[in-house]
Symmetry: D2
Subunit: 141 residues, 4 copies
């Protein structure tokens, strides 16, 4: 996956709280921003997936907050496919500040549903997306 770039997020003023640092809820949103960008990069764009009638909601999250981040700082986010065997999909997230220090690690777990909310088999519904995810997993090893 040498050709994958990390996602960069510059902390917005409205993302800070009265503690003077980024509010912890925003990292969950950055996970999504970076995941959308990652899926684009591996040829499995989320907008296209939804247009094809498949949604992939978050069913689980794990978040570790290692260092605070502040307004105007740029956070580098690396997303990888952590686990995927067709039904459940896990992404891992590593976030670093400009000094290269880890600020956050996380995992998100997803399932695949039809627009009507029924579980679907991605391999049947969207074989290309399924293949892209498997390859992303393979190359990661």
């Amino acid at each position: 996956m040498d050709n994958l770039h990390d996602y960069l997020h510059r902390v917005h003023y409205y993302e800070t709280d009265k503690m003077g640092v980024t509010h912890h809820s925003n990292y969950v949103r950055w996970m999504e921003e970076a995941r959308v960008d990652f899926l684009d990069q591996i040829g499995c764009g989320y907008a296209a997936m939804e247009a094809a009638g498949v949604v992939s909601p978050v069913v689980g999250l794990e978040c570790r907050y290692l260092r605070p981040t502040v307004f105007d700082e740029t956070v580098r986010i690396r997303v990888r496919v952590k686990e995927y065997r067709g039904v459940r999909l896990f992404f891992s997230y590593e976030m670093q500040n400009a000094a290269g220090e880890p600020v956050f690690t996380g995992v998100s777990e997803h399932c695949f549903l039809s627009a009507a909310g029924r579980p679907i088999i991605l391999k049947k519904q969207l074989p290309d997306a399924d293949r892209a995810l498997r390859e992303a997993l393979e190359e990661d090893k």
Copy 2:
């Protein structure tokens, strides 16, 4: 409209910013919270309106920030129908802190669309909602 109650919003920690006060964007969200509550009170609930195939997007906003508000403070919000003659709908908003001091005034402007995004005549589509809005306007005078 003597039977109308004001809407109360307690400022959440995640709504503050590094200045130590509520971020200005949240008042726009509180306008919506209070508007939804107001529409319920006058018998023109927004969820029911959407279920009937009508959406009422915001097309304009005016906001005046008079005093900051802080975490854990309760803000009292009064919503009124400012103008309505069938096509465009204007709400006014007055927000006060616990000391009764004004903290914010605003106006929102709305149109009515079908689920497909076409302009509709509310009186034809949802005569009860149209009547409720006209009465809210009347009684306000």
Copy 3:
């Protein structure tokens, strides 16, 4: 803890996303809303704690999304002290919809810092808050 009430949150329109349900990031914010309310109830109010120079940032989160929630629905949130022995504090969260079905469970982990960001011993700094948390834990068993 029979005298503790659950926290109620009515889903706001701005908390929904294009899937038609509540965006998952908002549950993290509701955890905070409910936690602030819970701390008030056990006599360990967060605003007072901060006024006394102590902050309690989130250092970890676990979230399980069990059922979607929708606009205008009221979510009942039960918070409990899951673990506390003086340094790290864990809260558990159970969220139910109006039908009493579980929609979300979660855990948040917190530390205690001075305003300057240094780790502190809550028992020394704020003995009353420390006691309130221990009692909340005790009574839970």
Copy 4:
């Protein structure tokens, strides 16, 4: 001001609502994102201004929503200094979609305060920032 670039914002999934389009409150946040970027470009960075003890809260907003925007779309935002004579500062905002169609116009009004919340004269406190704003205004004509 030929050397100024517009600010680009790609619509995030979490910024959409159940109507399937961007929730209107987010444009207020994009105004801030674009304003921070603009101030950086004219040499009047907001982070530096705050580090020097000056804050510039929003005291007024006007927003016109012209066309909806959707997930994954890139919005081009042009910010300009609309009015500035030392005490009140007004910015104008024009947002376009990828097809070059206007989606939003807005104005924000700001004052200048010390960290303690007292009104200040920017020219005395931060003469360089004052000059940068005046020049941005001049060149705009």
